[in-house]
């Protein structure tokens, strides 16, 4: 039976999707703007005979996640900004231990305690991380409540399939707003974890999981193997949205909720005859460099828009460095006030005029 659309808040959508995905254990400590996730799961998980633990701190929550994930079950935590900061050591260990688990990070505005406004200031935190060593946190960024559901499913699947921590990177706007969406069935196959999971050594040899490797060659190989997984994830699990990029002279790059505002501005620009398109990476880490390169080779300039001081911008620049020399403009600011369609449109118009006039002269605009 096809399920009907419901009016759902982003945070509840994520929580419901986690339940539907078969999440067996949740560990968390409340923080706005994501507290509804824990609130929902605190009643739903016990009802279903699953584990809900109100951890005493975020450090405890991330290490509980490590423990639960090591048994092969689907496990999740959710948090925000300054509290995700506390989890960085644990994330490095989870990545090093190759443990599947999901972290939902609903960004608030920082640095420090900041406040609960929607922000994109934790792109770096999610994709570069603060933990030690060579590792990546695979990161997906939704732009709607429906995507909060679909990508929660994707996070569980990718984490289970590749034995890696995966982050769903949302923000205060997505977490707090309601929008029509459908919580459909978990669409992915179940992954058998029995070959490695710590499930008790009854009738089998004992196993252990650790990130420590004393042999230098073994350690090297281990990290190489982990990075090979990131290549596979980029190859097999990449998700992105391209809008009106065909024939565009300028492409806007944006992610998450800012991308939906940018999309409306691109529509406005197209109506006014400006050849503008939008590229929205949904998989943020590993970053889809090749696609950015392909797009960059066909346009005269890129305008990156973010609600931060220029974070994904660095990945855009790194992607096309040495491949094509086009201007990369940036429009962004620290969080506090949400961007408007008109504001972004104005930026598009200015950048378009500047780049296109320089290249072709005014007659071509």
């Amino acid at each position: 039976m096809k399920k009907e659309k419901e009016l759902l808040k982003g945070n509840y959508a994520i929580a419901q999707a986690a339940v539907e995905a078969g999440c067996q254990s949740y560990f968390g400590y409340p923080i706005t703007p994501q507290s509804e996730i824990g609130e929902y799961l605190s009643t739903k998980m016990p009802e279903l005979g699953r584990a809900f633990v109100a951890a005493e701190s975020e450090v405890a929550a991330i290490n509980m996640l490590l423990g639960a994930g090591s048994t092969g079950v689907k496990a999740m935590t959710s948090s925000s900004s300054c509290a995700v900061a506390l989890m960085q050591e644990g994330l490095s260990f989870i990545a090093g231990d190759e443990i599947p688990c999901v972290l939902v990070s609903v960004m608030r505005a920082g640095p420090g305690l900041g406040y609960i406004y929607a922000s994109q200031g934790d792109y770096f935190q999610a994709t570069k991380g603060g933990g030690n060593g060579d590792y990546k946190i695979v990161t997906f960024a939704p732009a709607s409540v429906q995507e909060c559901i679909d990508l929660t499913y994707k996070c569980f699947y990718v984490s289970q399939k590749y034995r890696t921590p995966v982050c769903l990177l949302a923000d205060g706007m997505l977490g707090q707003m309601m929008e029509p969406a459908v919580v459909g069935k978990y669409p992915y196959e179940e992954i058998d974890q029995s070959s490695w999971a710590l499930t008790g050594a009854d009738n089998r040899e004992p196993r252990h999981i650790a990130s420590i490797e004393r042999e230098e060659e073994t350690l090297r190989k281990r990290v190489v193997k982990i990075f090979e997984k990131y290549n596979q994830i980029l190859k097999n699990e990449n998700l992105f949205e391209k809008y009106e990029t065909e024939g565009a002279k300028i492409v806007i790059t944006a992610f998450g909720s800012i991308a939906r505002i940018a999309k409306a501005a691109v529509k406005m620009a197209r109506k006014n005859g400006l050849k503008v398109g939008l590229f929205r990476p949904i998989l943020l880490n590993p970053f889809p460099e090749k696609i950015v390169q392909e797009i960059a080779q066909k346009v005269d300039g890129i305008l990156d828009i973010e609600l931060n001081c220029g974070q994904m911008l660095q990945d855009i620049k790194a992607s096309i460095a040495g491949v094509v020399a086009i201007p990369i403009k940036f429009y962004g600011r620290p969080a506090g006030v949400m961007m408007t369609v008109e504001e972004i449109y104005e930026q598009i118009e200015n950048v378009y005029k500047e780049i296109i006039e320089k290249k072709y002269g005014t007659a071509c605009i």
Binding site: L7, P33, Y115, I116, M173, M177, M178, A264, K267, V341
Partner: protein, 178 residues
Amino acid sequence: MDSNVLIAGFGGQGVLFIGQLLARACMNEGLSVTWTPSYGAEMRGGTVNCTVCISDDEVACAYVAEPKNVIALNAPSFAKFESKIKPGGTMVVNSSLVKSAPSRTDINYKFVPMTEIAHNAGHEKMANIVSLGAFIKTLPVISKDSIVNVMRTMLTGKKAIMLEGNIQALDEGFEAVK
């Protein structure tokens, strides 16, 4: 269509509820819609607001700095949002509680004694529903029937006894705007 309305009043007046009622009705009509509460350091008895954005395309942004329309259920909300409305916009005001005179000439005002209407109908707590009736008459983004249909799905079980009163309040708000 691309419109939005900010609904504001005292905590307890049912501001968030009528926002969701409107949003659900829009959803059922196949429109794109978002509902966003004001949030931050809110306190009991303080003012509360929510924004509903409606579009027949995708809704771009759920936050609105300058709303096209405002429903003000109390005086602090009138004071706070009157100046923020986009020129050409509409303000539907609960004149039972708002005694200030309008200060702008570039927006439309609809003064409706919502609390009084609700009280006379025997349901003082339904001033919010009266305001929604007045709003959809002023700005026909959605039909009255669509709202009633959502009420029927939201007011079930123990709440079912409130259904008739709510429908009456909606009707009276609708009729109060000429």
